[in-house]
């Protein structure tokens, strides 16, 4: 269990995390989402005591991280896959970390086997690819068989095989009762892994919801393009349909299916140039939620439809 209480972190003039209060519970995979620069990594660094909070505090299993007698036995964290000495072998990298928690070399060999690095255990890490470095980082996080797993963008650089393995691993850990907190800026990745979502934008909490609820909240819509949009609008109003008219010739229907709209248009002799049913996806809901919270937005005025097309 991770309890984040009113956490704020300021770097100079920039407020990276702004009064964040979230509890990450055991028994489920909690996805930590947000655009780049939203404060995900900063939050994770504060959890494991790397960065000092400007205000607030974080408790892991009821204690500050710095007060844990053997942190690796309680928290397995992977924040930066390249945070290892290039001249040290994978085996020695893990052996040194294991020593901090009184963990023996048998467990070191075990985790190397587990992540598929047993064959290159005696190679210096400078020879490793990004994916291999990522696996070594995961091996380090597993050393102490911790109840809390904390991973920052773990699938970066992993091959499909590795991504599949990570998903299975995180789900298994959560099923055993572990607390699993995984960050990503990709909604699609989290949709497949997480049971619960914590969404951050510009350092503030945007959502703390079950993934299923987030999916349910994304409603389908119908795009209608017509030279007689004005006439169609009158018809729709009469029928009590909820819709937007973002452009003179474009209507976006929010609470009716494409078939109903087609029949209405036919009945009232309105010409349609386009009739498209768009299924609201989790990605759309995420973009909608974070649209106004993008730290480094390329097109500040872009609406979510445009973002979708680019993505």
């Amino acid at each position: 269990m991770i309890e984040i209480n009113h956490l704020s972190k300021r770097y100079g003039a920039r407020l990276a995390v702004d009064d964040l209060t979230v509890t990450v519970r055991p028994g489920r995979v909690t996805g930590f989402l947000g655009p780049n620069g939203a404060g995900k990594s900063t939050t994770m660094r504060a959890i494991i005591g790397l960065d000092r909070p400007t205000a607030g505090e974080v408790l892991v299993n009821g204690r500050r991280y710095v007060d844990l007698p053997a942190p690796l036995r309680e928290v397995g964290a992977l924040l930066d896959a390249k945070a290892m000495h290039p001249g040290r072998t994978a085996y020695h990298h893990l052996l040194a970390l294991a020593a901090t928690a009184g963990i023996g070399r048998a467990r070191v060999l075990e985790v190397l086997e587990l992540v598929g690095l047993a064959d290159v255990a005696r190679h210096r890490t400078r020879t490793f690819s990004l994916g291999m470095g990522q696996r070594l980082g995961i091996a380090a996080a597993l050393l102490g068989d911790p109840g809390v797993i904390l991973l920052d963008e773990p699938v970066n650089g992993l091959d499909p095989d590795g991504i599949h393995w990570i998903r299975g691993f995180l789900r298994a850990r959560a099923a055993e009762g572990g607390t699993v907190f995984v960050s990503s800026h990709l909604m699609s990745e989290m949709a497949m892994t997480a049971d619960h979502l914590v969404i951050l934008g510009r350092g503030r909490l945007l959502a703390d919801v079950p993934t299923a609820e987030m999916v349910a909240a994304t409603s389908p819509s119908v795009r209608v393009r017509s030279p007689q949009a004005a006439e169609l609008e009158v018809v729709l109003r009469a029928e009590g349909v909820r819709f937007d008219r973002p452009q003179p010739e474009l209507l976006v229907i929010l609470d009716r299916g494409a078939d109903e709209i087609a029949e209405l248009a036919f009945a009232h002799q309105v010409v349609l140039h386009e009739l498209t049913a768009t299924h609201g996806s989790l990605e759309d809901a995420y973009l909608e939620l974070t649209r106004n919270e993008l730290e480094y937005s390329t097109t500040p005025t872009a609406n979510p439809t445009d973002l979708r097309r680019v993505a």
């Binding site: 844990l68 924040l79 290892m84 040194a96 020593a99 291999m132 095989d161 298994a172």
Partner: protein
């Protein structure tokens, strides 16, 4: 590359019995030291630097011993001007000064290499107590440097004895201050490594920390030149650097035993102070 199936083995629910504060602190320190020792031993640069330091002590000592032996056999040696035993002892330790540069580099690198690659964050995540981290690094350096430098000093003492004895001179082991000087040179080197590591924690970059060390080592000498000579002579032994605090401990002649140890104590106090400052800074600073 294939990956084995995710671990679904049952985890131990009990996270160890909670022990008293004293018994849970002690293994923490011991483990931090062990971890830092594994880290130091498992990179090539440590072995290279220690080899360079050893060679510096041994080769310089041996070369000077040979030169003394040659001069003595020709009747032109320093034996005509001073006590022969005292001079040969000084010769045995003449390489210590050059070895110290390598030792300081080892101390600096032991910390700044962690910063350069980001390993420092992995390390702090494993040992979040900053004091434990600084002590762990310092103790590991002492554990490595002390026996190596002690071995180098004793080896050089023995080699010098053998070489000068061919010229009819000797290096009697019971000579006052000789053993203290040999052991003291190794202690001084160990403390220097801790001192340099402290600079590493504060400055973080290898180049910056090495430059800072060089400044701390040489600058006081230049400042002393501005002082009146009698004052300068009084201040000199208490400053870090050549001829300064601690260096008396590896001088054989012209110093009392007590003064030698006090001098080393002053240097140890500097190393302790810089380690404490480093700990305080690490506690405040984001890793």
């Amino acid at each position: 590359m294939t990956i084995s199936a995710p671990s679904v083995a049952p985890r131990s629910v009990v996270s160890g019995p909670s022990t008293g504060s004293t018994s849970s602190r002690t293994p923490g320190f011991a483990r931090a030291i062990t971890a830092e020792l594994v880290k130091l031993r498992s990179v090539r640069s440590t072995g290279i630097v220690l080899l360079v330091a050893t060679l510096g002590v041994v080769l310089m000592g041996v070369a000077n011993a040979i030169s003394i032996a040659v001069q003595a056999s020709q009747g032109t040696g320093p034996s005509t001007t001073g006590g022969p035993a005292s001079d040969t002892a000084a010769v045995a330790l003449s390489g210590v000064g050059s070895a110290l540069v390598a030792i300081a580099a080892l101390g600096v690198l032991s910390v700044t290499a962690d910063y350069a690659c980001g390993m420092v964050r992995t390390t702090i995540a494993a040992v979040p107590r900053r004091g434990r981290l600084v002590i762990g690094k310092a103790a590991a350096l002492v554990v490595l440097v002390l026996p190596v430098m002690l071995g180098a000093a004793l080896l050089t003492g023995l080699a010098t004895h053998l070489i000068v004895s061919t010229a009819g001179l000797s290096l009697p082991l019971d000579q006052p201050g000789l053993i203290r000087a040999l052991v003291g040179s190794a202690l001084y080197a160990s403390i220097l490594a801790v001192f340099a590591a402290g600079l590493g924690w504060l400055v973080r970059s290898t180049a910056g920390a090495l430059a800072t060390w060089l400044g701390v080592w040489t600058l006081p000498t230049f400042v002393l030149m501005l002082l009146p000579a009698p004052l300068a002579q009084q201040v000199q032994p208490w400053l870090p650097g050549p001829g300064g605090a601690g260096t008396a401990v590896y001088q054989v002649g012209g110093i009392s035993e007590a003064a030698a140890w006090v001098s080393l104590g002053a240097f140890a106090a500097y190393a302790l102070a810089i380690s404490l400052v480093a700990t305080a800074v690490l506690r405040r600073r984001d890793a």
